[in-house]
Symmetry: C2
Subunit: 343 residues, 2 copies
């Protein structure tokens, strides 16, 4: 057990793509929990694309991280010391304590995990925020119907991978888009998608036309950019587009050059009667217990699978995060920060 | 009664803004109805922005008008001769017989009107397609809630004018956008909107900020272009955008120059969780009787008002239509083609 608390902080706000210089590493004394608080030791830290937004001070649905503060993030922790009756030392919990070895936190939103039910890291992935994002967005906004075609990008990632697997369970054709032949093979061979297209190929539009002979009824949008440009013309009348991420444009500092394609999109919205709706996972908070129960059931039955990309060591979190924004991870990216007593 | 049937035809497809050369005028013998058909004499012809789409052969929700055929359009007619038991000579009907003095039609979709209930031209306006567009789009997609702010452009037109009046009935703040001080005065003084902004002013964005101190919860989109650009930044989280028209871009032959503003819109969709959904009036066909009944009730009670812009003479339809696309009409544009026996 480390004697100090290493923290990865936001050293400065990135202009465009984050660089190592935007992150700091400092050491602090391990903090003491006050009344009603707990001291947590981080085991796993989740790295997710939304964190790029928190590094900027642009107005968004959540406040930015302050410069000098530890980067925010979901964690699986072990309780070291508890001043709250609900928790005991040794408990494994899901918390939101960020990029650091230790943290003191109030217990609101902290959830005890049962290591017998599922590997504890899944609370950051398929049974956590990414899983809830996939489930609630697809079911509430995508509304997939038997026989329809569902397309999702970042299909080897934790959200996209589950979106396609739920689509299959609902009787849809599931077509993924991913970066490179290895990811595409995984998406088809292990996750059971009907097809997966490499967005690095020369002709994504042509590949989409071939893979979606009946058009596209649901496009689960988590990337934007060139992938979206290829998908929109293939959308069917009354198609639904849940928008949960736009990773392709998070690092952009300027708008892309012309022409202005906005009128093209709006024309499609009108003539095809598209429904485009943004959401974040907490918009459907009341559905989480039901969703988590259903996904856990599918997991036990072997009907859904997941893949984790585990990076060792807190100090490697910045590089891993920068790689995530470039699509270098393969599966749900987590950083193992400390010893996993359940592993 | 004319001895021939004058028809305004699509002479050629417009490139950009339609010109007089895109329309033809010919004369044909008055046709004879076959078994089960009726011969109709046009009294009023409706002119509506969607007709611009039918002049092009781009794929849309409806087939284009063929070059050489009469322009399509909704009409209020008198039955001259009936070979169908449901109709008799003299009946006043709502039909879809297009830009001509006479037409033979099957009776499917033809509806008998009761001139005692409302002026017959309203079947083309507040009690017809524009009224149903305003009602069904606002209620199903806009979902205005008490205390919210609803913004609509073309607010002196038949769709926008009713959108704002329904918004007021539902307890919302209604803010219109229209072209010029006369239209804006009408929208506030006669239709009862809380405010109406002139889109020809220098600072629409600033005027919107002032007129919508609590942001915008529903933007009923019927114009697109610069108005939409000014509205989007003022949308509140969870705002709804029913899209029923984009008149500002119908005549465009090329996409506007850069930058490409699509990523900006998608960022708003994501961070504000906007819901943007296109519709056309027939998507909610099953709701028309209920909607028409409710609007007729409001009309009787004086809670909603309408304004018509009546142009005399079929031969003036092309010029009136070209003016419509430039916002020159003031109220619901109809052409009086023939004598109104109820007037």
């Amino acid at each position: 057990m480390s004697e100090t608390n290493r923290r990865i902080t936001l050293a400065s706000r990135p202009e465009g793509e984050p660089t190592a210089a935007n992150f700091g590493l400092d050491e602090q004394p391990i903090p003491e929990p006050g009344d009603g608080q707990i001291l947590c030791r981080t085991i796993y830290l989740s790295l997710d694309p939304y964190m790029r937004g928190r590094m900027s001070d642009a107005k968004s649905y959540a406040d930015p991280v302050n410069v000098g503060d530890p980067m925010c993030g979901g964690t699986v922790c072990q309780v070291v010391k508890s001043n709250h009756e609900k928790f005991r030392g040794g408990d494994i919990v899901l918390a939101y304590t960020g990029w650091q070895d230790y943290a003191v936190t109030n217990v609101e939103g902290v959830m005890k995990l049962n290591p017998e039910q599922a590997p504890i890291s899944t609370a950051l992935g398929i049974l956590g925020m990414p899983g809830m994002t996939a489930y609630t967005g697809l079911m509430n906004i995508g509304k997939p119907k038997d026989g329809e075609t569902v397309v999702v990008a970042a299909a080897s990632g934790p959200v996209g991978g589950l979106v396609g697997q739920i689509a299959k369970i609902k009787g849809c054709r599931a077509v993924g888009i991913a970066g490179g032949p290895d990811k595409c093979a995984h998406v088809v061979d292990n996750l059971g998608f009907d097809a997966c297209l490499d967005h690095r190929g020369d002709d994504l539009a042509g590949a989409l036309a071939e893979a979606c002979p009946d058009g596209i009824d649901v496009y689960f949008e988590n990337v934007g950019g060139a992938v979206a440009d290829a998908v929109y013309p293939r959308l069917n009348p009354f198609a639904r587009v849940p928008v949960c991420g736009l990773i392709a444009q998070y690092n952009a500092t300027d708008l892309p050059p012309g022409p202005n394609k906005l009128p093209l999109l709006m024309r499609d919205v009108l003539t095809k009667r598209l429904a485009i709706r943004g959401f974040i996972v907490t918009d459907f908070l009341d559905q989480w217990p039901q969703a988590a129960g259903e996904i856990a059931g599918w997991l036990r039955e072997g009907r859904v699978k997941y893949l984790e990309d585990v990076v060792q060591g807190l100090e490697n979190a910045p590089a891993a995060f920068m790689g995530l924004l470039q699509g270098k991870n393969f599966g749900k990216l987590v950083v193992q920060v400390g010893h996993d007593p359940t592993g």
